[in-house]
Every structure is written in structure tokens, then in C-alpha cells.
């Protein structure tokens, strides 16, 4: 009980510090890293839900991210929608697409899902580049305006400064992670883990794997789409590089290092890996080589990720006293 309240206190203080950063430092780079962390951690958190908890390897996250970005950017600039409705529409479209991909491929197998999700991400890039009348093609949509949000009480918040975007994205990230946390610690998350650990057993116990898999995909698509919609207004431009395979690699690394199926681990690794590439900018050339090495090492040495390692330790602890006389 005590340990829990200490943890809760640390969590609240940490959150307060995060929200106080714009007041503590005017350094825009710290804010830029914070924004980057907020966006990437939502992506990796969603991937963790799909891969870490439910066991489905997905390359589609970046596609949802981009679909949300484009939808929000187009609706806000061309249809004069408000930021919230544009972002909500982006999230909704990403979710709908995610459901279609998930439903059609998961009826076959999780392997089919992995391959289809990869093709989907590649097709997104092609569509963004070449459906010029819709997406404006390779030039992207530059000069996205600073959005204004109506706050309760008739106030209007014009989001123009990096600090505003920092609050906005961090706020959204807190919401997104709270939602993910809520799911993974509930019986829904337990069912997802059950499906990952032993799908036929779960089926024999009345669990519908397809429903839970679709739930995980839909949730990750919704959050990725929405965070994409918010993120591009900070960048002021959306172009096909929003579908860069590099994002997928980064997300995967975050989940693998943090430990698939470990909520706090992935959150922590997202934070570290957002900052590390920037602290190590001098290794630019070899950064991706290093990422690759990490992936290989993780797969060879920690096949089950952090969760697998913790599990092995737990098993060892339980066995110990029974070995001793």
C-alpha cells in the first residue's frame, strides 16, 4: 500500500514537472523534444498494445499516423473545420481503415496481418505522393495555420507558440497513455495477453480473439491518427514523408527495448530514445546501424522482451524455496 502511494506521488510530481517545463525553461529545443516524445510515445504505446500485449506485429501504425495527419490538415485548411473536429475525423478514419485491414487479414492469420499491414503502409506513401488532387502530392500541404481551440467558458486558445503545442501534445499523450494503461491493466488487457500467450486456449474459454485484436488495432489506430493530426500543425506542413519507414523502425526499437507488453518500460524507452538520437547526433551515420544491432541483440538475447525476462525471474523465484530443503 505504502509503496503504491509513493509511486503515485512520484508519478504526480513527475507529471507536474513535465507540465512546468515551459515555465522553467524557455528553451525551445527542450519543448521540441517534449513534443517529439509525446507524438512518438503515443505511436509506440499503440504499437505496444498491438504487438506487446496482443502479439500482432504491425507495420501499419505509421499509416494511421499519416492518415490522421492528412485528414486533419485537409479538413482544417480546406473545409474550415475546427482543430478538434479535424483531429477527431482523422482518428476516426484511421480507426475505420485499421478495422478494415484488421478484419480482412486477421480472418486468415496473424502472419497475413503483418504482411498486409506492411503493404498498407507502403501503399499509403504511394497514395500520398500520387493522388495529387486529394493530397497535393509530393509537395505536401505547407503553411498549416496556427489552430485555435475553443475552451470551456468561451475562451479561445490560439496555438501558435512551441509551448502551446507542448501543452497540447503532452496533454493528449497523457490522455492516450491513460487510456492505454486503463486497457492493459483491465481484464481487456488480460484477455489480450491470454490471446498472445495461447490463442486456442483463450478461444476454448469463450474469448473471441478477433474482437480483442480488432479492439487493440482500433485503439492504436485512433490514437495514432489523432496524434498525427495534432503533430502536423506543430510542423506546419504535412507531406508524404509522414509515412517514412524510419518512424516504423523507431517505434519498433522503442517497443523492443522497453519490452513488449511492458507499459512503463515502453514509455521510458520512448523518452530515452527520443532524446538519445539527438544527444548522439555526431553518430548520425551509424545511428541506424546501431538501432539494427540493438534489434538483433534483443531478438537473440531477450526473445520475450522485458516481460519475458521478468517472467523468467519470477519463475526462478518461485522455484527457489522449493528446491531448498
Amino acid at each position: 500500500m505504502n509503496a503504491i502511494s509513493v509511486r503515485a506521488l512520484a508519478f504526480v510530481i513527475g507529471l507536474m514537472v513535465l507540465f512546468a517545463i515551459p515555465k522553467l525553461t524557455g528553451n525551445e529545443y527542450v519543448l521540441a523534444l517534449g513534443i517529439s516524445f509525446a507524438a512518438l510515445s503515443v505511436l509506440s504505446g499503440g504499437l505496444n498494445l498491438v504487438y506487446g500485449y496482443t502479439g500482432l506485429l504491425s507495420f501499419a501504425q505509421v499509416g494511421f499516423f499519416g492518415i490522421g495527419s492528412y485528414t486533419a490538415a485537409l479538413l482544417v485548411t480546406e473545409q474550415n473545420w475546427s482543430l478538434w473536429s479535424g483531429v477527431a475525423a482523422g482518428g476516426a478514419l484511421a480507426t475505420a481503415v485499421g478495422m478494415v485491414i484488421g478484419y480482412s487479414s486477421l480472418r486468415l492469420s496473424r502472419h497475413a496481418f503483418a504482411i498486409v499491414s506492411l503493404s498498407f503502409a507502403l501503399l499509403c506513401m504511394i497514395v500520398a505522393r500520387d493522388w495529387v488532387s486529394l493530397t497535393r502530392g509530393a509537395m505536401g500541404i505547407p503553411g498549416l495555420p496556427a489552430p485555435t481551440i475553443n475552451l470551456p467558458g468561451g475562451m479561445r486558445w490560439r496555438i501558435a507558440q512551441p509551448a502551446d503545442f507542448y501543452y497540447l501534445l503532452l496533454g493528449f499523450a497523457v490522455f492516450a497513455h491513460a487510456l492505454i494503461y486503463g486497457v492493459v491493466t483491465s481484464r481487456l488487457g488480460r484477455a489480450m495477453r491470454a490471446i498472445k500467450l495461447n490463442e486456442p486456449l483463450a478461444q476454448s474459454q469463450g474469448i473471441n480473439p478477433l474482437a480483442y485484436k480488432l479492439l487493440a488495432i482500433a485503439l492504436s489506430a485512433l490514437l495514432a491518427g489523432m496524434v498525427g493530426g495534432l503533430f502536423v500543425f506543430y510542423l506546419t506542413i504535412v507531406d508524404p514523408s509522414i509515412f517514412d519507414f524510419y518512424y516504423t523502425e523507431t517505434m519498433l526499437i522503442m517497443v523492443i527495448i522497453g519490452g513488449p507488453g511492458s507499459f512503463w518500460g515502453v514509455l521510458a524507452s520512448s523518452a530515452v530514445l527520443t532524446a538519445v538520437p539527438d544527444l548522439l547526433r555526431f553518430t548520425t551515420d551509424l545511428r541506424m546501424v546501431l538501432y539494427g544491432v540493438v534489434l538483433i541483440a534483443a531478438m537473440l538475447l531477450f526473445p520475450g522482451g522485458l516481460g519475458g525476462w521478468l517472467h523468467r525471474r519470477r519463475v526462478a523465484r518461485w522455484r527457489q524455496p522449493r528446491v531448498a530443503p
Partner: protein, 381 residues
């Protein structure tokens, strides 16, 4: 737990920023540069870096600027606006940079523009080709952005003007990469042709990194256009040109053909005779300043300069010239000095920024005749 780490990181950056400010008063004058050093266009980022570093080295050999040494720091942006914004934000927050250079990709440059405007640091673009950069600069709104390379539209207008004079502006097909480069090429060409009551007879785009072009080239060959406007660079250019040769082509090329990179066997065979091309630069331009540049570049990097390296070299020279005239190397003073630039290009013309902070250097129109590249004219863009 991650909160703690971020706080530590934040503290570290505040400290870093503080030392940055201290340095700015006395030490070198530092230019910040963001360019793709990894990813699909890293090859160009590398040339951009080489051109810029050569210019800086030459300036330093002549005593730097205002009695201070000049430095240039490069950061990677993968040709991705998100990375571009992050890298430039970092440089801006350190407050030690006198100016920001390039971005290389149009989308990255466009994403950088609001940042440098807010920070009040001049941003000088050497390579990004999108027309919207200049449209949004100077009287277009962003007083801190300057663009040195000509827009595609103006160059293509010069090329089509010349083709029209020769009676060759009809029946042109277009093949280009589906990037801002290729898209700007097709729209620029369409616009220039429209002025002369012509239009492109077929337009096709390919994904960067496509290896096999034989299907589309066969189609173009069968369509028998008078000219094929080609907007391909890097490996794509090498693949198209060799496959066009393999298919027996039969149609001369035009557009932004990289005449300096055509394999010499193909060039010598006369296969490309009748080709015209417009480029802001070619290593073969016969001015003493260019000869010196090509020699110095080749000596330093073991490879001949290309368009990108030239544009970076010239842009940094323009920037250094402005720093020298600024008096105190403060960003604002450099911006004002840039606005009054009168710089003699190594191609011979004198350059000034127009109301949109855009330079109008001469474009070079080439032709291939008898297996050799000849410059048939320089045209104001």
C-alpha cells in the same frame, strides 16, 4: 522515472544554451545547417555539405569574416520535416548561430521557415526547389528567408522559350519522379508551354528508387513524341538513361537532363544528339571562377562538383559576403546585409535578391551535338 531523465536532460540543455550565448560574443561565427545525411537523398546532402564546407574553408583561408573564423555545423534531417524542425530548433535554441542554411528538401525548408522567423535568424536556401518558398518570402511575408537557386518555373520558361524559337516546343512527353522536384518540373513545363499554346502530350511519374523503367520507356517510344522531358536524378537517372539507350530511344531528351552525368559511352555514341537541357549549373561553364571552383572541389573531395555542390558553395559565399558587410555578425544585421546583396556569381552574373528574396541567376541551356555537350545559351531566369 522517465520524468526524472527528461528533467536532467532539460537542465543539461539549459547549461548548453548558456555556454552557447557566451561563445557567440567572441569566438567563431557559426552557421547552422540542416540537410539529409541519411535516407534516400543522403547523396545530395553529402554534396551540399561539401560545397558549403569548401566555401567556408576558402573564406577562412582569407581570414574569415570580421576578423573571426567561420564555422558551419551540419545536422541530419533525413529529408523529413519533423527531423528538420527538431534539428533547427536545437540550433536556434543554442542561440549561437548567425544564420541557418538550406534544408535541401522543399518540405523541410518550408517547415523551417516559421521557426527562423520567430527566432529572428536569417535562413538561406540553396537547393530546395519549391516555388512556394519564394512566394512566402520577402514581400510574401517571411522577411528572414532567402532563396538563391532559381525556381524551376523560371528556368523552364527560359528553356521552352528557346525550344519554341527553334520550333521544337510541340509534342513533348514528360517523365519525372513523384517528388517535389518532378512535380515542379511538370507544372513548370506545363505553364511555360501554355504560354505558347502548347501542352505536354503525356505525363508520367515514377517512385524514387524504381529500378526498371522499360515498361514506361517502351510506351513513350511507341508514342513517338518529339522530345522527352526527363526529371530523374541519382540512381534513377542512371537507370532511365541506360534503359532508354537499351531500348534504342530515338527521341531526344529535354528538361533537367543531367548532361554531366550521362555515361561517356552513351554520350560518345551520339545517341542523345538533339537533347536540350536547362540547369542552373554545369561544371563545364567556361569562366575562370568556375574553373577554380571545379578544380578546388575535385581536389578536395575526389569527385567532380554537381549542381547541389555548386548551389551550396555559391549560397554560402553569398552568406559570408553578407556577414562581412553586416559589421557585427548579428542575425538581424546579416539579414539586412543579405537584402542588399550584390554578389558576382562564379558563372559571371551579378546577383541580387528580388522583392521575394529570390535570386535570378542565369540558367544554362545545353544541347548535345555530335556526342558532345555544348552550352548554347545563358538565360536570365
Amino acid at each position: 522515472m522517465f520524468n526524472m531523465r527528461l528533467t536532467v536532460a532539460a537542465a543539461a540543455f539549459v547549461a548548453l544554451a548558456a555556454t552557447g550565448i557566451a561563445q557567440a560574443q567572441t569566438g567563431s561565427i557559426i552557421i547552422g545547417a540542416s540537410t539529409p545525411l541519411t535516407g534516400g537523398v543522403a547523396h545530395f546532402g553529402q554534396h551540399a555539405r561539401w560545397g558549403a564546407e569548401l566555401a567556408v574553408a576558402e573564406a577562412n583561408a582569407k581570414g574569415g569574416a570580421l576578423g573571426r573564423k567561420i564555422e558551419i555545423d551540419f545536422q541530419d534531417n533525413r529529408c523529413n520535416p519533423a527531423e528538420g524542425v527538431k534539428s533547427v530548433t536545437q540550433m536556434l535554441s543554442e542561440k549561437k548561430y548567425a544564420a541557418i542554411f538550406d534544408g535541401l528538401c522543399s518540405s523541410v525548408a518550408l517547415a523551417i521557415m516559421p521557426l527562423i522567423e520567430r527566432a529572428g535568424v536569417p535562413f538561406i536556401v540553396a537547393n530546395a526547389s519549391a516555388t512556394s518558398i519564394a512566394e512566402r518570402s520577402g514581400v510574401g511575408g517571411n522577411k528572414w528567408t532567402f532563396k538563391v537557386n532559381p525556381t524551376d518555373a523560371s528556368m523552364l520558361d527560359a528553356l521552352v522559350g528557346w525550344l519554341d524559337k527553334e520550333g521544337k516546343a510541340a509534342n513533348i512527353a514528360f517523365l519525372g519522379e513523384d517528388t517535389d522536384f518532378g512535380r515542379a518540373g511538370s507544372s513548370g513545363l506545363e505553364a511555360a508551354l501554355k504560354k505558347r499554346n502548347q501542352k505536354l502530350v503525356m505525363v508520367d511519374f515514377f517512385q524514387k528508387g524504381t529500378a526498371d523503367f522499360t515498361p514506361v520507356l517502351t510506351k513513350i517510344k511507341a508514342r513517338k513524341p518529339a522530345l522527352l522531358a526527363l526529371y530523374a536524378i541519382d540512381a534513377d537517372f542512371q537507370n532511365t538513361i541506360r534503359q532508354w539507350h537499351g531500348l534504342g530511344g530515338g527521341v531526344p531528351l529535354t528538361g533537367r537532363v543531367l548532361v554531366d552525368q550521362v555515361p561517356k559511352e552513351i554520350m560518345a555514341s551520339g545517341f542523345l544528339d538533339g537533347t536540350t537541357s536547362v540547369q542552373p549549373y554545369d561544371p563545364s561553364v567556361d569562366t575562370p571562377a568556375n574553373k577554380t571552383f571545379v578544380e578546388a572541389f575535385t581536389k578536395k573531395y575526389n569527385v567532380a562538383p554537381m549542381l547541389i555542390s555548386f548551389e551550396s558553395y555559391e549560397t554560402i559565399n553569398i552568406l559570408i559576403d553578407a556577414i562581412r558587410r553586416s559589421g557585427n555578425a548579428s542575425p538581424a544585421a546579416i539579414r539586412d546585409a543579405l537584402a542588399t546583396t550584390k554578389y558576382r556569381s562564379i558563372l559571371g552574373t551579378e546577383l541580387e535578391f528580388d522583392a521575394n528574396n529570390l535570386v535570378h541567376n542565369n540558367a544554362i541551356i545545353f544541347a548535345i551535338k555530335g556526342g558532345k555537350v555544348v552550352i548554347i545559351g545563358m538565360s536570365k531566369t
